[in-house]
C-alpha cells in the first residue's frame, strides 16, 4: 500500500485511486464538518469552522512534508522521551543517581517552601490539584492497574465527603478520626460495588458503575432528612491540633501535601507488591491469570476497595477544606475529569497520573477565558489520546505494548491505526 493511503479519508475501502481521495478529503472534510455544525452554530460559524479545518488540513500536510524531509519525527519522539524522563526525575521517581537525587531534592524543597511566598489563590489551586492527585492515583489502582473501567469512582469521593460532613455536624467527630473512617466507609461501598459487578466484563462494568454514580447522586439529592438534599451540608468542622485550627489556605496545602505523599507511597508499594503484579496479570488476561492460580475474585474486590479508600480520604479532606458539601460536586462529569487525568498521564503509571492530574487542574486555571470549553477539550482529549497515544504522556512501558497490540491473532501484525490487512 502506498503512503498516500495513510491520509484520513471518508468512505469505504473501494478501489478508487488514493490520490483522488486525498484531494477530495482536502475539500470534503471541511465541507462535511461545516454542514454537520451548521444547524447548531449557524452559517457564519459553520463557514468559519470549515475554513479553519481546511487551513488546518493544509498546515498538517505541510508539516508532514517538512517533517519527512528533515527527519522531524524521530526528534519529536526523542523530545517526548526526554520530557518524560525529566518529569520522572522531577517527581522524585526512583532517584537512581546523584543528579536525579539532587533534582528530586530541589523539587521537594520547592514544593515545601515555595507556597510560603505564593498568594492564596495559587495555593488554593495547588490544594485542589492535590485532591485530584489523590483521586487520580486511587482511580489508577482500579483502571490502570487492575484494568477495571470504573466510571463510578466519584461516588466514593462523595461517600467520604458526606461521611465527614455527617460525622462532624451530627456527632462532632474530629477530622483525624474521620479521615480513616471516611476511607473505610468508601472502601466498604467499594466492596459492595465490587461484589455486585464481579461477573461483569469491561463494558458492562462501565455502565453499572455509571448507574452507581447516578444512584448515589439521586440519593444525596432526595434523602433530605440526612443529606439536606440539594442545599448540602454547611458548617463542617475544620481540622485542629489541640488549640491550633487549620484555617488558612496554606494549612490545608500542607495537609493535602502530606496526604498526597502518603498516597504516592502506598500506591507505589502496592504497585510493586504481589497484589500489584496479580492485578496486572488480571488486566492483561483474566482467564490466564485465573489459570495460573490468581484469585481473581478476591483481587478484583480488593482493587475496588483499595481504590475507593483514597477517594474516601480525598472526600473527607474536601469536606474539611470547603466546610460545605452538596451533591453538585459529585456528578458523572467529575468522574470523567478524574478518568481523563489517568488516561492523559498514562494508565498504570504513577508519575504519569500525577502529571495528568496537575495538567487537568492547572491548565484551565491558566487559560481562564476558555473555561467553558474545558469539558469539550477533555472529551476530545480522551478520544485523541486513545487514537494517538493510548499509553498516556508518561506511559508505563508494559502497558504501552499491551494497549497497542491487543487483538487475538492480529497481535503485532497490525499497526494500531486500524487498517485492514
Amino acid at each position: 500500500m502506498s503512503a498516500a493511503n495513510r491520509s484520513i479519508r471518508f468512505g469505504g475501502s473501494d478501489g478508487r485511486p488514493a490520490s483522488n481521495l486525498k484531494t477530495l478529503s482536502y475539500i470534503g472534510i471541511p465541507v462535511w464538518i461545516g454542514l454537520l455544525v451548521q444547524p447548531f452554530i449557524g452559517s457564519e460559524g459553520a463557514l468559519a469552522l470549515a475554513v479553519v479545518t481546511f487551513l488546518g488540513g493544509l498546515l498538517w500536510r505541510m508539516a508532514i512534508r517538512v517533517s519527512r524531509s528533515v527527519q522531524f519525527r524521530p526528534q519529536i519522539g526523542i523530545l517526548l522521551e526526554e520530557t518524560g524522563r525529566l518529569i520522572r526525575v522531577l517527581s522524585g521517581w526512583k532517584p537512581a543517581d546523584r543528579q536525579r537525587r539532587a533534582l528530586a531534592l530541589t523539587v521537594t524543597g520547592a514544593v515545601l517552601i515555595l507556597p510560603l511566598v505564593l498568594n492564596n489563590y495559587i495555593i488554593d489551586v495547588l490544594t485542589l490539584a492535590g485532591i485530584y492527585v489523590v483521586l487520580a492515583l486511587g482511580l489508577n489502582i482500579v483502571v490502570g492497574m487492575a484494568g477495571l473501567l470504573d466510571l463510578g469512582y466519584i461516588s466514593f469521593y462523595a461517600i467520604g465527603a458526606y461521611s465527614y460532613a455527617l460525622l462532624s455536624t451530627r456527632l462532632g467527630v474530629s477530622f483525624w478520626l474521620a479521615l480513616p473512617l471516611g476511607g473505610l466507609a468508601a472502601a466498604a461501598f467499594g466492596v459492595v460495588l465490587g461484589v455486585i459487578t464481579l461477573r461483569l466484563r469491561g463494558d458492562y462494568l462501565a455502565i453499572v458503575t455509571l448507574g452507581f454514580v447516578q444512584i448515589v447522586h439521586l440519593v444525596l439529592n432526595n434523602w433530605d432528612r440526612v443529606t439536606n438534599g440539594p442545599n448540602g451540608i454547611l458548617n463542617i468542622g475544620r481540622p485542629a491540633f489541640g488549640t491550633f485550627v487549620f484555617s488558612r489556605p496554606i494549612h490545608f496545602y500542607y495537609l493535602i501535601l502530606a496526604i498526597v505523599l502518603l498516597t504516592v507511597l502506598a500506591v507505589d508499594r502496592l504497585n510493586r507488591s504481589r497484589i500489584g503484579r496479580a492485578w496486572i496479570a488480571i488486566r492483561e488476561d483474566e482467564i490466564a491469570a485465573q489459570a495460573t492460580g490468581v484469585d481473581t475474585t478476591r483481587l478484583k474486590i480488593l482493587a475496588f476497595a483499595l481504590g475507593a479508600i483514597w477517594a474516601g480520604i480525598a472526600g473527607v479532606f474536601f469536606a474539611a477544606k470547603f466546610a460545605f458539601v452538596s451533591p453538585e460536586s459529585f456528578t458523572f462529569f467529575e468522574s470523567v475529569i478524574v478518568l481523563s487525568m489517568v488516561v492523559l498521564g498514562g494508565m498504570g503509571s504513577v508519575p504519569g497520573v500525577i502529571l495528568g492530574a496537575l495538567i487537568v487542574v492547572i491548565l484551565p486555571e491558566v487559560l481562564r477565558e476558555f473555561a467553558s470549553y474545558r469539558m469539550l477539550v477533555f472529551g476530545a482529549v480522551l478520544v485523541l489520546m486513545m487514537i494517538f497515544r493510548p499509553q498516556g504522556l508518561i506511559g508505563n512501558p508494559r502497558r504501552r505494548v499491551e494497549l497497542q497490540f491487543q487483538d487475538e491473532g492480529r497481535r503485532l501484525h497490525m499497526p494500531m491505526n486500524g487498517k485492514r490487512v
Binding site: L149, Q214, M375, L376, G379, M386
Partner: protein, 300 residues
C-alpha cells in the same frame, strides 16, 4: 388511571426501545457499547426543534403541518445519520483493533464532547419546541389518550417492523447478520465490513433521531444532557432484552418504560431514575444474557 399510566409507559418504552436498538445493533457487530449513542438521540431532538422553528419562521408549518413534520423527521434523520457516520469514522474505526478499554474511553470522550458542543452552541437553557396545533385527545374506554402518545407508539412500531424486514429480508441485512456472527469470516466471503458497520451506525442513528424528535414533541422541551440519562436507560433496555438481540431490545424498551411509568406513579417519582439502574444490576447479576438472549459464555 392505571390504563393511562400503561399508555404513558408504552410511549416512553417505545422511545427507549428505538434508542436501545442502536445500542444493541452496534454491540452485536462491534462488541462495543456506543456510549455516544445517547448524544445522537439528543442531537436528533435538537434538530427536530431547530428544523421546526425554521419551518415555522418560513411559514410552512402554518399551511402544511403534516408536510413540515415529515420534513422535520427526515431532516433530523439525515443529520443524525451523518453524525453517527462521523462518530464511527473518527472515534471507533481507528481503534477497531486496539485494547478493549480504548474504544470505550474514546466513546465516553465523544459523548462528553458532543454534549458540550451542543451546550456551547445552543446554550444550557431548555430549548422549547414550537407550539403546534394538535388534535383533541381521543377517548378510549372512557380514558382520554393524548394523540402524541399514540403517534409515538405507532411510529415506533412501524420503524421496528421496517428494521425487522431490513435485517431479515435484504441483502445488506444478511451481511449485517453475518458480520455480527463472525467479522473476519464475513470479510473473507466478500462482505465489506467497514460498509456494514457504517450502515449499522446510520440505521441506529436514524432510529435515535426519530426517538429524539418524538420526545421533543412530547415533552415540549429538550436540554443538552437528555442524552445521558436516556442513553443509560436505553442501554438498560438493550441489556434487559439481551444485548445484540434486536427483538430483545424492543421488548426491553417497552418493559422498562412500563416499569418506570408505573413505578413513578405508584412507588416514588423522585427515585424513578433509580428503577432503571436496579433493573440493570438485577438483570446483569441474575440473567446476564437478558430475557431473550442466549446464555452467553465468556469469550476466550
Amino acid at each position: 388511571m392505571l390504563f393511562q399510566q400503561i399508555v404513558n409507559g408504552l410511549a416512553l418504552g417505545a422511545v427507549y426501545a428505538l434508542i436501545a436498538l442502536g445500542y444493541t445493533m452496534v454491540y452485536g457487530i462491534l462488541e462495543l457499547i456506543n456510549f455516544a449513542h445517547g448524544e445522537i438521540y439528543m442531537i436528533g431532538a435538537y434538530l427536530g426543534i431547530l428544523l421546526l422553528t425554521f419551518f415555522t419562521v418560513v411559514g410552512l408549518t402554518q399551511n402544511h403541518l403534516v408536510l413540515s413534520l415529515v420534513l422535520v423527521f427526515l431532516g433530523s434523520a439525515l443529520y443524525c445519520a451523518a453524525y453517527g457516520l462521523t462518530l464511527e469514522r473518527v472515534a471507533y474505526r481507528p481503534l477497531r483493533h486496539a485494547h478493549r478499554l480504548s474504544p470505550l474511553i474514546s466513546a465516553i470522550g465523544m459523548s462528553i464532547f458532543l454534549q458540550n458542543y451542543v451546550m456551547l452552541a445552543q446554550g444550557s437553557a431548555d430549548k422549547v419546541f414550537p407550539h403546534i396545533l394538535l388534535p383533541e385527545p381521543i377517548t378510549f374506554l372512557g380514558v382520554p389518550l393524548g394523540p402524541l402518545q399514540i403517534f409515538i407508539i405507532l411510529t415506533s412500531i412501524v420503524l421496528m417492523i421496517g428494521l425487522h424486514i431490513f435485517v431479515n429480508k435484504t441483502r445488506l441485512g444478511k451481511a449485517m447478520r453475518a458480520t455480527a456472527q463472525d467479522k473476519r469470516m464475513a470479510g473473507l466471503v466478500g462482505i465489506d465490513i467497514n460498509r456494514v458497520i457504517a450502515v449499522t451506525f446510520v440505521i441506529g442513528s436514524i432510529l435515535a433521531s426519530a426517538a429524539g424528535v418524538m420526545v421533543a414533541m412530547y415533552y415540549g422541551l429538550v436540554n443538552f444532557f437528555i442524552g445521558y440519562v436516556a442513553g443509560i436507560k436505553a442501554f438498560t433496555a438493550a441489556v434487559l432484552g439481551g444485548i445484540g438481540n434486536i427483538p430483545g431490545a424492543m421488548l426491553g424498551g417497552f418493559i422498562l418504560g412500563l416499569v418506570e411509568s408505573l413505578g413513578a406513579s405508584y412507588i416514588s417519582s423522585e427515585y424513578k431514575d433509580v428503577f432503571a439502574f436496579l433493573i440493570l444490576i438485577g438483570v446483569l447479576i441474575l440473567r446476564p444474557g437478558g430475557l431473550l438472549g442466549e446464555k452467553a459464555s465468556e469469550k476466550v
